[in-house]
Subunit: 305 residues, 6 copies
């Protein structure tokens, strides 16, 4: 056995994958989107991609739960970060979609590192450009299907999924929200999400029915559709993921999060993201470490596919 | 829908309620008590009320679990903070009781923001001045029924409930402690609490019997008595509530805390407090956010009453 | 003497001034602008206004250096925060200018609490709407006269003063930059600022010539023109002001900052701001305390006028 | 009842036990090993012993779960810290073993405070010098049975238990690992541990079978053998124990950790340690408080023996 | 040369002096007073003594500036902490005075570790019990000669020196305040201090006249009187001493603080204290390290006497 | 002008230089040495290189003080990190020297990023392998010329320069120490450094004589010799550089540090390092930002050579 360098050493790309700034043939492209301009509470997720990369070095490579070493089965590259424009969310989304589509065109599944949740919209655009409307498994405390957060502005971190549905990027027969909880403006917030066709499994429902039942229903809904997984770290409780912008108490434990993701093994995963990591509010890097692990589980899902 | 200002903007009163410094007609008065002089370990809860107010702005208004928007049913005011005297706990308690009694007299239920746990004593005095001895549901890691912490000094943050019982503010037939755990001076600490008539449900007992059974027995004990809820954030595990003075490992999760409070819906709630939030030991404001949510649940309990 | 409440108690408005959300007759309006969407490095200054307000409570009221109690000479109000739109800097600027102009129209000098430095532009618009082009004393590590930071986008936190000059809000015969230092893109960055007419006193020049000479030349340049003071906290060294977005080593001490401001006593101050306080990067609140003191000195300058 | 001094006062020895720097007759010697030179990720556990001692003052003395006050049954001394040599792990281990053996020879059970996990090796040497090969209950996220972490170097924090097995310090018929999880280099990492004879109960297995079953099987394996308990705090989730060097998400809660330890009551405990507490990464001291509690449970196990 | 143990190892007494809890013959007794109940802003200095002790281990023993190793000339003991009563400042002061007087009676100079500044009063009582009214060199941002902070309460952290003067513990012909600055309630605050006879050297005056002149005048005023030095760490700027309760910007650098203390070499020092260290607000322990150094300089002054 | 990506985006190499893991033709190689195993107080500098790289992205490229853009004149590469062995300082030094010598052989000046100060020894070995004994300008709080810190162990972070002198790597006629201060074991510590031939300019001497005189004498001593600059960040005061292992109060300001380095422009610089950055103790990244600036000044010195 040759030991890799210790995790505190070396230039930080995700899992020490080669840094490949322009699309080329690969199985997976890790793509950072350091954008946080539209968030409704604590900003700072622009530093998420860098923090997740750094902590990914702590992941030794083999997933004991899923019994797979992703990098042995997949050509993984670190595509670096999209060149965002903090003052223009529309242009930023355009660039994200373009860059992601380049990778998708080159045959890669794109795994996005956020940045705020609005970036799922252009990532879904790139994904749907190849696969058509996709199933979506959406882990979050918030439905993110508000019509707007700032009246008159369609794009922000609370609206990506209503926009994606309007743009027909999501197959709403297989759109599952998991972990929703906390106060909202009013009863219509949840009702509106349901009207869009989403299957909302609140955190309370998951607690009541259990992780296994949650997974079973999700798998059944998704079936063999191409599926996109989006994981807002605030799906997890702030005790486990303090470094985020709109923390919501009463969330999942990190163990539950891992179980939920691993339960999706075998689905036809075609794209994914982990978003809303805000390192300035993290401590001891526990949120970044968790996020890096979530990405690692996603890579494992891609590898066991 | 008109969006409220984002939570990072504006003067911080609880839930953006109007600041009303003198008692007037209201349903609920939020009253801060920035006092921490008697604590036995880490001081700092004097900054609790301000931190809880700030994080309350993150609560959008509608409680999806209890299906109620408290501010639509109740006239809620932020009464500001009592003018405490750090060097005189007796005088401080007198002022708290007087100010709270003013609000109670004006028809309001008072919800206290601590500050250390000793402030439950004067808040109970004000409550009992109207309702007579009240049932008490007391969430805590510690019984707080010591005879004294500093020999010769009857008032401190470990003694409010023995004093309240001596002053006949509590109906001991319906005094429930939930979450007690951790080392004490000796076996008599628990025994003494039991002798006072309290039904102590230790954290271990709750873990064993489950949340539902805990709620059921509590509801049965309280019945339709007027009831006061006091929530020491150290009932929750330090992972979820690090910003407190005497953290005790092995506590509740934030999800369990929410479930326990929501389980009290329908009881005749007449007063409440959330205490022992010490922001200097918090990180990413997770303790203040939790405390703000606990207060929000209490307001919801008042609204669904 | 009646002691005020201790600084840890009460609702936090600036210096406990009354919160007046709509323009009315006043001498000074403190106006928060919780906007940070265009910053080039660390976001988070949206929480600046709230943090500055909180720490202002530590200021007892009388300025021993300038021998004045601002609140005894001026009617000071806390105007709260502008309702910003994180995803639209142009609209946000429009709202800031409108709200500030309302106060200016009502006779008040506006003192802005940032938020990022781009907000000086709309504050200058409001100021110039009454006074015409104003002298500007600009404390900063960076000239903030770049043509753009994001190609094609005229408005961002590095461009407010070139835009203000283009809009003829600044009397460039009396535009002084104090504290400039650190690396830039190239030699043209300083050269461009000079071409705009600005008198740039670099941090090195101030160190060499001394505080007194810096003040003397500034006073001589400003003369009796109406003058606006803008203070980016990164003019001060990160040791004294860590809680900011683009920290630059080698800056002023807090004592030098106070001396520089006090040296402007007697000038015809008509508006001011303190910007770029990013509390998530602060510790022990030292940056917010410094910023609150800087605002207090500005109020003192207004009072001794 | 005489109240002890409050926990914020006084010189910090473990549980205020007398500081006894040279072996003498005692039941338990608390021995700090401030060594962290071989760790593979975050260094800093050299400050673990001091932090654990400090937080031990918060433990009031009586264990309500096990119904015992350890100090009433055992003569406990604080032996201070071993004089480690950061640049020589072999010599450091020699000194630890020598000092611990001195205490064992004087009749004491040694409870080590780490410091990194490599120190379990010399502590086991001292233990086995009296008891022969011992049963080991090993709580950890990582098996720590790698052949080496740095090729060619047999001793480091990932190798103590393979070395101990090679040195015949462990009775492998009763070597239980509890809580193992997370990525490793490859499938052989777990396989190698199993080949050494260890009974590995992964965190997932414990989650599935439950705490009670875990305890039952452990007790059955250990039987009445002399047993050593080693507790790496990273067995617990980083939410509960952020202050550690190689945090691994998905771990135990603090409540589960306490239950697991208490479940070992009655076993023939002859030595123990709590390791990998790295205070620079802790916040609000929650990791040190947890570690102090774990040591307290170990002392309780010794007292009820 | 025999190297001492590294500073991260061992039980933390001040400078590794023997812990001697009861007065016995010694030259210097280090006495902690973990009391913070009367402070007007941030509490937490009760943890000051422990933090200062810990960081004292980083001081290698020989003072290169004053060319003396205090422990070679003086028998220094660590007297531990006074058993304070958080809810009774008068009783706490009585205990401090009694314990300190015991040491003074045994021939020792007492050096107090705070704890809030009110503790200087009982320490001065003990000092004056032997030496009569003493000269006082008082480093601080605040005069601490208010008549009261809480109307009707004579004792608090802002009043020790008016009380000491009233009790005739201070020889007001040689009472020097150094470093005073910042806002106060009004002009009378400074005027009142001057009326008491104090020579107030504001921070601005020291900046203008220089360190050497400050020292010269102080030495001249003190002459050969027995002198007590009290050092509130907020005399130093919050950049250098963030871990304190009422930080005041514009203060001394740590280098100036050292120079000022060393300038007092040769005076007839009979007692001293360093107060207002609040570790919860410190970072990287820089305030505690500074405070430990200040105590070390005081010991050096005693040694070169 | 084409704007570079914002500093929060992209893979972090020093100044966005290409990552070149094996020696090839270049002018400067930035070489990280993430090693901290021998430090005498706080460990953690193993994370220094990564943190410095990250903050280097905030440096826009042009040095306004020295009027040079280093990357326009020099081919700068980021050589990544040496593969260190935490448990073997001798082998680690061997690897550092070998890797650095490879770069030196390829014509590059090596600038090391620490890591602890012991790494200057192998970096000097590589430097001297080409240039023979070199002049050394050594910024530090500590002389680091102890014979040993751990009796019997010649290599550790307090001994690199005595070893380098013994190995004849340093031309002791031009060995300058700048910034020395703080307590030591005894008077011999300074005396021993002087006996080795070093010109020690203590921090106090620099304060007295001024920066200009310090520079002048240093330049005169170095003359046109090949010179190595080693900068231990603890030369700077902990207020400006809290993130370090053995902080020493009373140090330089960041402005003084910049001035001192810039004063060396024109010397024949052949190698350099910045060491002892310990990010776990940093806050708001101010130490890393300072260190990145110090490296940038060194690159500028190389460019103006």
């Amino acid at each position: 056995m040759t030991a890799p360098p210790p995790p505190f050493a070396g230039i930080a790309t995700f899992l020490r994958s080669p840094h490949v700034p322009r699309p080329e043939c690969a199985d997976v492209a890790i793509l950072g989107v350091p954008f946080d301009a539209s968030v409704s509470y604590r900003s700072g997720s622009r530093f998420g991609p860098r923090a997740i990369r750094e902590q990914s070095l702590l992941l030794w490579g083999y997933n004991n739960a899923l019994k797979v070493a992703p990098a042995e089965h997949l050509k993984i590259v670190d595509a670096g970060d999209v060149d965002v424009v903090p003052v223009d969310i529309v242009e930023t989304h355009r660039r994200v979609a373009a860059e992601a589509a380049g990778w998708v065109g080159a045959g890669a599944a794109v795994v996005g590192l956020g940045g705020e949740h609005s970036i799922s919209l252009p990532l879904l655009r790139a994904c749907a450009s190849k696969h058509g409307p996709v199933a979506v498994v959406h882990f979050d405390a918030h439905p993110d299907t508000w019509d707007y957060e700032y009246p008159g502005y369609p794009y922000s971190h609370g609206t990506p999924f209503i926009r994606a549905i309007e743009e027909k990027l999501i197959d709403t027969a297989a759109y599952v929200q998991i972990g929703i909880r906390g106060p909202t403006y009013g009863p219509s917030d949840y009702a509106d999400a349901l009207k869009l066709g989403c299957r909302m499994m609140t955190r309370d429902e998951v607690a009541e029915r259990g992780i296994a039942a949650t997974i079973a229903e999700t798998r059944q809904l998704v079936g063999d559709r191409p599926v996109y997984i989006t994981f807002d770290v605030d799906a997890v409780d702030p005790a486990f993921a303090p470094g985020t912008g709109t923390p919501e108490v009463g969330g999942f434990t990190s163990h539950e999060a891992l179980q939920l993701l691993r339960g999706l093994a075998g689905l036809n995963l075609v794209g994914a993201d982990v978003v809303e990591v805000a390192p300035a509010y993290d401590h001891a890097q526990i949120t970044s470490i968790l996020a890096a692990n979530l990405v690692f589980e996603m890579l494992s899902l891609l590898a066991v596919r």
